[in-house]
Symmetry: C2
Subunit: 247 residues, 2 copies
DNA sequence: GAGTGGTCTAGACCACGCA
DNA sequence: GCGTGGTCTAGACCACTCG
């Protein structure tokens, strides 16, 4: 279903140093990146590739399947394969567990529990946790330090239905994050990152000035269909940043 | 190389509704998640799976290969496959192209070019672009608006070796990001997200107050081995946030 | 019914790490 | 030399879409 002569350079597909499925992937990627095959353009079928590039169908299939899982193309059974509309230009940032992150930098992680209580859910919190307004929920506030310097305020609400044992934990031994992950494996995470001005009580806990900008991550996590916890993580802008590499 | 009897339930691996490679993946995943196979535990080899689960080696290979690409296991040629140490607890944030993002919200994207010139690289910029200090580099500053409201300052330096035609573009028609992606396909992106206080000239361009915190993304991108561009993207904290869902 | 992708097999050759 | 993963093939059956 492709115009004849869509390739006239097949040398790279002979057995050699680079795997043949990889050569096929590169061949298709280069057509997409050069603009020769624009978004939604139909890609040669597996059988076209078999015939034109001289590889087996399993090899063609692997190349297309991997391109699809990478988001470069979309495939529809019975129809064909097409250049994905979305394009690249998206990159990913990894958001990690604060305690692991500090330890991996070779520093010491300590934390201080500022509040641990059971309280009625506000409308916002009830909504975030999927419980009625006024229902009892657990609330903890901690400060995490890297080599004794405050680096994060963790203001967290927990759904007691999912984790009834939350209040009984020793959070100097295990972080709320780690404990909740043990009790209810995370299946979904929603995160929002913003720059905000800290409130006076937050400045005090973080030992920063009134006008110092902070990074705020609001995180909600689910286990299966149940909402487990919602947290506000506040970092001083001068002491913390998110880093990420995509390849 | 596995203790005999590591499975006594093979019914699920007969041809059926769920693909056999998927059944094999689930089988292994469940052993890992239950803790039966802890971190670094050796996983049955492809040949073990062929013998014990009654699938072909290609099917066993696909199951293990996909588990490896998902990060659940690690594989070493000539040695074996092992449960990955890493574990979950990391989540991802997607950082998108500003123009696409605005358009997908159904709003109008406009931009204004504030500066476009060739200048000698400072030590920092030279380092970021992989060119000597003092070498000529391209420098552009733009303001991106969503429905006429300023939402991002894009302060960008470009390596002229990789993209010599940069200065000749009409950036009201194509964003620098989109143009650079066309000219030099991105193979690597490094990003750093911080909360910062804006400088006076930035407040003016964004039409915000002096003490309003801003989200700053510093982004460097590579094409193959060449550093293409480095950019500072500055967003008013009240008008922009990064959102992401991981599943 | 023809074309598409989705899966699966049996067998093969190779590069690698280790004893 | 043996077991490991890495790749590749030729051929097969299936489910799906569309004319």
């Amino acid at each position: 279903m492709t115009a004849p002569g869509w390739t006239n350079d097949m040398a790279a597909f002979a057995p050699g140093s680079v795997p043949r499925y990889e050569a096929v992937k590169q061949f298709i990627r280069s057509r997409i990146e050069s603009g020769e095959w624009p978004a939604n353009h139909r890609i040669p079928s597996e059988n076209d590739i078999v015939a034109d590039l001289g590889v087996s169908r399993m090899t063609a299939n692997r190349a297309l399947r991997e391109l699809a899982s990478e988001g470069a193309i979309t495939r529809v059974q019975g129809v064909g394969s097409f250049v994905a509309a979305h394009k690249g230009s998206t990159a990913l940032l990894e958001v990690r567990n604060i305690a692991d992150e500090i330890r991996e930098r070779g520093h010491r992680h300590t934390s201080r529990l500022t509040l641990l209580e059971e309280e009625p859910a506000s409308p916002e919190i009830g909504d975030a946790l999927g419980v009625p307004t006024g229902a009892r929920v657990f609330h903890s506030i901690m400060v995490h330090c890297e080599d004794e310097v405050p680096i994060q305020i963790e203001d967290r609400f927990v759904n007691p239905t999912v984790c009834p044992s939350y209040m009984a934990q020793d959070f100097s031994a295990i972080t709320p994050n780690a404990y909740l992950t043990l009790v209810a494996p995370i299946t979904r995470t929603e995160q929002i990152v913003e720059a905000v001005s800290p409130k006076p009580w937050e400045c005090k806990l973080l030992a920063i000035g009134r006008n110092e900008p902070c990074l705020m991550i609001r995180r909600r996590t689910w286990s299966e269909t149940a909402s487990v916890t919602t947290a506000r993580l506040l970092y001083p802008g001068t002491r913390y940043r998110l880093e990420g590499v995509s390849q």
